[in-house]
Structures are given as C-alpha cells and as structure tokens.
Symmetry: D2
Subunit: 284 residues, 4 copies
Amino acid sequence: MHLEASLLLHCPDVKGIVYEVSRFLFERGGNIIDAQQHREEMDNRFFMRVHFDASDMDAPQKSLRGELDTLSAQFDMKCRLQFSDERPKIAVMVSRYDHCLYDLLLRHRYGELHGDVGVIISNHPDLAAVAQHFEVDFHHFPMSGSLKAEAERRILDALKSYEIDLVVLARYMQILTPTLVDPYKNRIINVHHGFLPAFKGARPYHQAYEKGVKLIGATSHYVTADLDMGPIIEQASVPVKHSHSVEDLITMGRDIETQVLANAVKAHLDSRIMVSRDRTIVFD
Amino acid sequence: MHLEASLLLHCPDVKGIVYEVSRFLFERGGNIIDAQQHREEMDNRFFMRVHFDASDMDAPQKSLRGELDTLSAQFDMKCRLQFSDERPKIAVMVSRYDHCLYDLLLRHRYGELHGDVGVIISNHPDLAAVAQHFEVDFHHFPMSGSLKAEAERRILDALKSYEIDLVVLARYMQILTPTLVDPYKNRIINVHHGFLPAFKGARPYHQAYEKGVKLIGATSHYVTADLDMGPIIEQASVPVKHSHSVEDLITMGRDIETQVLANAVKAHLDSRIMVSRDRTIVFD
Amino acid sequence: MHLEASLLLHCPDVKGIVYEVSRFLFERGGNIIDAQQHREEMDNRFFMRVHFDASDMDAPQKSLRGELDTLSAQFDMKCRLQFSDERPKIAVMVSRYDHCLYDLLLRHRYGELHGDVGVIISNHPDLAAVAQHFEVDFHHFPMSGSLKAEAERRILDALKSYEIDLVVLARYMQILTPTLVDPYKNRIINVHHGFLPAFKGARPYHQAYEKGVKLIGATSHYVTADLDMGPIIEQASVPVKHSHSVEDLITMGRDIETQVLANAVKAHLDSRIMVSRDRTIVFD
Amino acid sequence: MHLEASLLLHCPDVKGIVYEVSRFLFERGGNIIDAQQHREEMDNRFFMRVHFDASDMDAPQKSLRGELDTLSAQFDMKCRLQFSDERPKIAVMVSRYDHCLYDLLLRHRYGELHGDVGVIISNHPDLAAVAQHFEVDFHHFPMSGSLKAEAERRILDALKSYEIDLVVLARYMQILTPTLVDPYKNRIINVHHGFLPAFKGARPYHQAYEKGVKLIGATSHYVTADLDMGPIIEQASVPVKHSHSVEDLITMGRDIETQVLANAVKAHLDSRIMVSRDRTIVFD
C-alpha cells in the first residue's frame, strides 16, 4: 500500500539538522520526496518540512511518532507528523454569504482538499439547503446578544463531537471569543475582505472606496484574540477603477475572498504552514 | 497638418452635457475620436474627457479656449484643453535612487511620454552622470537642515524658469512644504513604496516585512500637504514569501515602483486624470 | 419608473456621428450616462456604445427602435438596442464538469448577470441535481454517434421554445455543427481550457505540460464553425512550475476557466461586445 | 570568511539520495541552508539543488569537486557546483533595442545579479554609448549576408577571450547558427516577444494583434538550433484590449520582455535551473 507522510519541524538552528532528519528517515526505510527549509535569522530558528514516501517503513503510524521523540529531544525540536491516509476533519462556519462555502464544498468534491468537511455551523438557518445539497451536517446556533456565550459553548461541543481539526470561517460575521480561539490556536482560518493591515474591522470595501484605492484585497489568516490581526497566510488583490461602485467592489471581492481562503485551507491541510513570531511560513 | 486635442471638463450633472459638448465641437469642425464620462453620485457631478481630431478646425489653439468660456458658463463647467502639438515640461526630482529616473528617461526616449523632461533636480550630486547621459539639465540643491527653506525657494525658481507643468518625485527622499506643494496642486506626482493607506511614512518595506504580509505594493499619488495622503493614481502589488528578506522586498519593490510611477506620469500627460473629493478619476 | 438602455452601433467612420447620436437621444429626452467609442483603422469603421437614462423618454421601448431606422439609414449604421427592463434568456450547455455551471448559477443568484438562466442542456444526465438545486429546467439529449443530428435538432427546438438569446458552453464536450452555430452567430460563448491560438483542440493542459510552458491560460470566445477559432472575448493565465503535474494544471485551470467564461457572459449580457473582422471589441 | 555554495545534481531516482548528499556535506563541515528536490516521473530521475554554508569546510574549492566524483559515481549523478565567491562572466548580445540591455546593466549595478557583465556584443554600432555609460567593453561585429560566418567566428573568439559563462540575447535580432549554439548549450538565454509556443518567428506582436488575443506574452528560453523552440525558463503576460494598436503592444511588451529576461538570467546565475527532456526545472 502506498503511504506518504509530511513532517513539520522547527528548532534552534545548529549544524546537521537536515543530515540527522534524513538519516532518521533513511534508517527507517523512508524516502524523501521533497524537503523545504527556512532559517529565521531574527531568532536563529530552523524550520523544515519533509515530505517522504513511507510505504516501505515498518508500521510507521504506530512507531514513528514515538521514535521522533528522541530526535526531537536532541535538537529541542517541535514536530508534527501527518500521514496521507489520515483525513483531517473540517468545520466550516458561515453566516449568510455562501460564496466561500460553495467554493470549499466544490473543491472538496473535486478532491482538492486533503481533509473532509465534517460539519457546517451557522448563526443563521439560511444555508441549510447548501449543506443538504452537499450532504454535510448543518447546525444552527443563534447568536443574538445574550445567547452568544451559550452558543459558543454549543459550538465548542460540536467541534469536539465532530473531532474537528480545522475551523474555517467562511465569511462568518461574528467575532470569536477566547472560548473558541484558545483551544484551536493556529487551527482557525478566517478570510477578511480587506488588505490587512489596512482596512481592518467592518465594511472594508466601503473604507477602500472612500479612500479611493486602485487595488482592493482580501486576506486569509489564523484567528487570534485580536480582531483581524492574526498571522497572514495568503493575500490577493484586484485592480479597481473610479467607475466601480461599492457594490462592484463587493462583487469583485467575492472572487479574491474565495481564492485566498481556499489557498489557505489547502496549505494548512497539506501541512505546509508554520507560525513564527506572528508571521507564517508557507512552504510551496 | 494633423492636430488632435483633449478636453477635460467637470460640472454639475444635468441633462444634455454630452450633446452640447459634441455640438460645440461639431459646429467648429472637430471630430470626436473617443469620449469618456463619469458621474460622481455622491456630489452629483459629471466628469468627461473628449479626445477629438482638430485638424479641420479653424485655428483652434487661438480661438477654442475663448469660445469654450461660453459653454463653461452655461453649465458651470471647469475645463482644461490640451493640443497634441503642445509638449508639457516635466521636472524630475530625485535623491540617490536612480531606478525611477532611468525608467522615465528611457520611456521618454521611446516616445511613451507626451511631454519632455526639462530638468532633473536633486538634493544630492550623485545622479548628475545619469542626467548627462540623457542630455538633460541637472541642478543640485543641498537640503541639509537650515538650507531647506532656501533650497525650496531655489527649486521653485528653477521650476518657473524651466516653465515646468508637472513635477515628478522619483524616489525623492524629502518632504515638500507648502512652498512647493501649493503652486503645483495636482501637478506633483510621488511614488510611495508601500500599499497606501497601509505603511505610510518611512521604511514601508520594513513595516511590511515585520507584519508578514504576503503582497507588497507601491502607490503613485498627487502630493498634498499631508504626507502620503494625496489622491491615489495607481497601485500595483507583487506576492512575497516568508523566505524574502527586507532586501528582497526592496529589490522586488523597485519593479513595481517604476511601473506605478510611469503609469501615473503617462496618465497625467495624456490629460486622463481628474480629481474629485481626494479621489482620482483616471480615464483609460 | 427608472429605465436605462444601451445602444450598440457601428458604421463607416465619418465626421459627426457622436454629435448626431447624442442629438438623437437628447431630442427624445434621453440622457447619456456613459459612451464609449472605437475606430477600426483598417476598415475605417466607427464603433460606439451609448448607455443612457431613458426614464424621461416617451414610451421608448415602442418608439425608439423605429425612429433609429432613420438615423441608421443616414450613416449606414448597424444598431442594437437593449433596455434595462429586458432580461435576456440564457441556455447553459454542459457535459460532466460542473465548475463553470455552479459559477454561472451562483453569479446569477448574486445578481451579477443581466439575464436569466432559462434552461440547462446536457449530453449526460449527471448534472440534473445541480439544475434542481438552483431550480432551473434541465434537459438531457444523448449525443452518441448516430444520435448527434437528432440531438442537435432537439437542442435547437429547446433553444427556440425557451426563447434563448445567449448559449453558453460551460465545458460542453461536443463540437457544434452549423445546425446550431449558424442561427446563433455571435450568440454562443465557449470556454477553451488553453491559451488560444496555442493549444487548440483536445487536452490542452497535456499539451501545455509537454511543452513545459510556465503560464497556462484559458480563453472564452464566440463559437464559429472552425473549432476553437472564433473571436476571442477574454483570456486569463496563471503561472505554473516544473513541479505541477497535469492534474495540478487541470485543478488550477478550473479557476481561470470559470473566470474568463463569467466575464465573457457578463460582457455579452451588458451589451458591451461587438465583433469586427473576427476580433472582438469589448467595451468596459 | 563567509562562503556559500550551490550544488545542482540529477540522477536516476533511488532511495537515500537526500540522505547521502546531506551526509557527504555534513561530514565535510558543510551546513545545508536550503535544499529543493524534484522527481521527474516520466523518466524516473531525481533533481536536487542544495544551497549550503561552506565557511567551515576545509578548502572546499580545491577539494570538493574531486570528492564529489565518488558520490557521483555511486548514484550515476551529474553534478555542478558553484561557490559564492565565483562570479560568472556574462556576454550581452544586442542589436538596436536597448530596453533589455539597460535593465540588465542596472540590475547588475543594484547587485541583483550573481555575475558580471564582461562584454556587450552587437551587430550594430548604435549601443556603444550605453556600454560606455556603464563602463563595459563593447564590440561591433557587422552581420550582413556574407559576413555572417566570419562574424560568428569573431563572436566565438570574443566569448572565449572574455571567458564567458552565460550569453544573454537581449533582443538580438539575428539567428544563431550551431557555431555558437553548440559550445554554449543551455548557456545562451534568449527573450522572445511572444507567448511561445504561439507566435513563433518574426513580428509576434503583429501576429497577436491580427488574431485579436486579449493577453500578450513574452518568453525567455535557452537557445537551441530550432528557432524559438528551446526550453522555456519564464513567461509573463499582460492584458490587452481592442483599443491597443500594434505600437501599444510593442510598448507594453517591453516591460514584460525585460522582466522575463531578467528573471531567467537571475535564475541561471543563481544555479537554480536544470533541463530535463526540453523542459526546465526552475527552483525558487
């Protein structure tokens, strides 16, 4: 049976890391297909992603994680290992806009995502029909005022019961509190319809229109407690003209929102992202 | 002799403006090649650019401006007329970076600019050799501390004596005071090496690097008394990655700086830009 | 009631066309919002699109077409007039790929299209569920060998009975014969998943991969009897690398296919396209 | 003293190559900064670029090439090693267009190129002043008819006497014969002002205009005996409209020609390109 795996690791930069990692895999029968490195000079750390063929390894899912501990200890390394036969579970959170939701569900169907959409969660009932069309569970947790804390607890329960690995905010129009953010650090991806760090907060297309910019942008990022401030994963832009109304910007924005969100979700699911000092390292 | 002209106008929006303008030109022997319009809903103004063949008109350079006054009065119109045989004079102001300067001088040589570079002004002597290579006058006005007011007066004198129509700040690393800004309102174009309104002020590539953005940008704009706040003319962006150092951003930035500055200068010289409420209307 | 209209026209280039057209509209109470022109030098023809406010005109839908005949005769003009309260009917033809179909149906739902999808026609039954989800009629006309002529007649009947104005081939994997092409000249839009005129015909992504190009493209165009040779409406490209497999190209291609097809459909429905000597004029 | 090196290698794909290469470097005191791999499935070959810190190695320039022979023999490997203190010598060949020449000379001055321009060679005398301005040797070898063979011999002599490693055809309007192509296989880079494989040969912008494409492109590639058919290194495109004349395409094309040529030259000088079955592998 063909089996591949991705190993993400980072540690203080010393000589011989690539050699020791490749030796570790070679001695266990792994074959490196592709490896990428990055040295962060400011804090002298080394980041690495190794994509290897594990087909000839002996029960790697059982043994490899344990054996990695020795290597990790030697280099003070943080590691994450993911096998190609594991399918991370995704929760998509939405409000009323459906373009990012359709886009993700279609990409899943086309086999573009290395994971599965386990559940769709919304603070509105409107998109239940989309969930039904794609045969995905849908939960509606109303969010008005006093219900917010209660709703977040129910969302957290749902994420646990669906064993969710990644939460995608696909134009979810609510601010998450630490109740949700903390347990899913660097595992919640949001799309902001503005060119962060410009145009934070509400109505970024209106802000862009008012300022008269000639490019509008969209940004996907990991969610932190600070609104629209988490590590940026992907950004895209599209040129605009004086003749475009705010409504035109909103229409044009949909296309780049879906693109930057999809690319961020794919990069996360492919184990290609690491975070260092609030900046992302996104390997190809 | 073949003669063309561009008429830029704006006025309160009422019915019949296009008709009256086309009648005005038709009755005088002009033939419209191309016209563009824009209605600014917020303040109900109408903006128009008419590009017409004036070859069959009777001494249009002499008569047309006077006759336009009647039409302008009727519609409370502001007009600007430019003939194809007029060559606006450009002053390029630089410090030590030369990439935008070379770019503009080469584009001038290739015939891309509807105007001529009359003089290069710098607060450093370094780029005199570039001016000489392209056979353009060069003036060095030192700018240190106490000399600033004096230098600006000498610059103003130079702009007047060279009969300058457009001032281009091609990575000029000094802030202009109202002494220079006021007399050349909407006639000074700057390039900022950041994605305005984000990353104003100094060292925008360092700011972008620190924030971990995935696109960097450059912005050309008319200069106002507020630093990096004037009406934006053109913006461009280029994707960046975690592996790019600040030096890489600076290198990649040069290419988009030259591009947005050149496009803004061309649009201005082609009489394709109008300003409304601190936003530009840039006709194609 | 607010009413707008678009007038597309072309004629031999003589002096005064803009004036006469604006006079024609002004005298009937129309107000030009926006007009665009193009002069084709090679055959000395003038092309124009006038977008005007017809709210104050007297029953323009009834009278205007007739009155235009006089103007047309004077300038030997071909005209097409479309009012904002008319909704062109679209037929979408598909096979098994659904990405362009979803994209068009969603854009329709978002109000991006000035027209309505009347029917979806396919040579396979697979996409009936998509039609049902968006509540659009679906017809399956099998296309195998001997059935082709029969199927095309039934398609033609369907197009007529649904009063279709525009046929969109959204990755329809059959070649149309003159039976269908001739009655819908410049009213059938196809998307080709290659950078025409390179990579015509079958499997363009495989061709691109083999050649080792560093950009792949997609092309939307009007359908003519010559396969993949009709007037090009829109093209887009995306950079590719040595590491991308043919499957990667297919995945990346989906995004540009939907984009170029949607933009072409919008431009057509907005009455922004004219065809001259097998080249399109696409006004903004 | 700080010293880095790049090792490019390819060989039949077997298990353990990354391990053996990293061991080879580790045992000699090298430290891998960055490594990239590519597996070409069609012919089961493995390609790798290793960028390593050689500062702590013992006289690596002297010893490493010899020691690599053993490793190469073991894996049937082809290797190329380049140290950061080596500066490849570039010859730029031009005719009368100067935009790519200025661009390369400026990038050299900005320190973007890991190499030095040793000589400029032209079949016309026109650009001698550019060479002089940048203080580079210039040789004029006239190319008319009967002189061609003689001129190519003199060019070959010049390339040898300047110890040229890379020949850049910066809009050189002559076809090279095998006299020049053969000795510099995969070491001559050309820029073609069209979107290869479309629009080969002469006047590609005229071809593009005639066909009515909506994107024009430029292509940099290694030169082979087949005109405009060598392995493509980089391509870029820019959108065009019906209103653009052939002259506009030529103007717009200059910007993408300089870009794709500069990027190809940089990639070559950084030892980031390998060629496999007429396709390039261009590592980041």
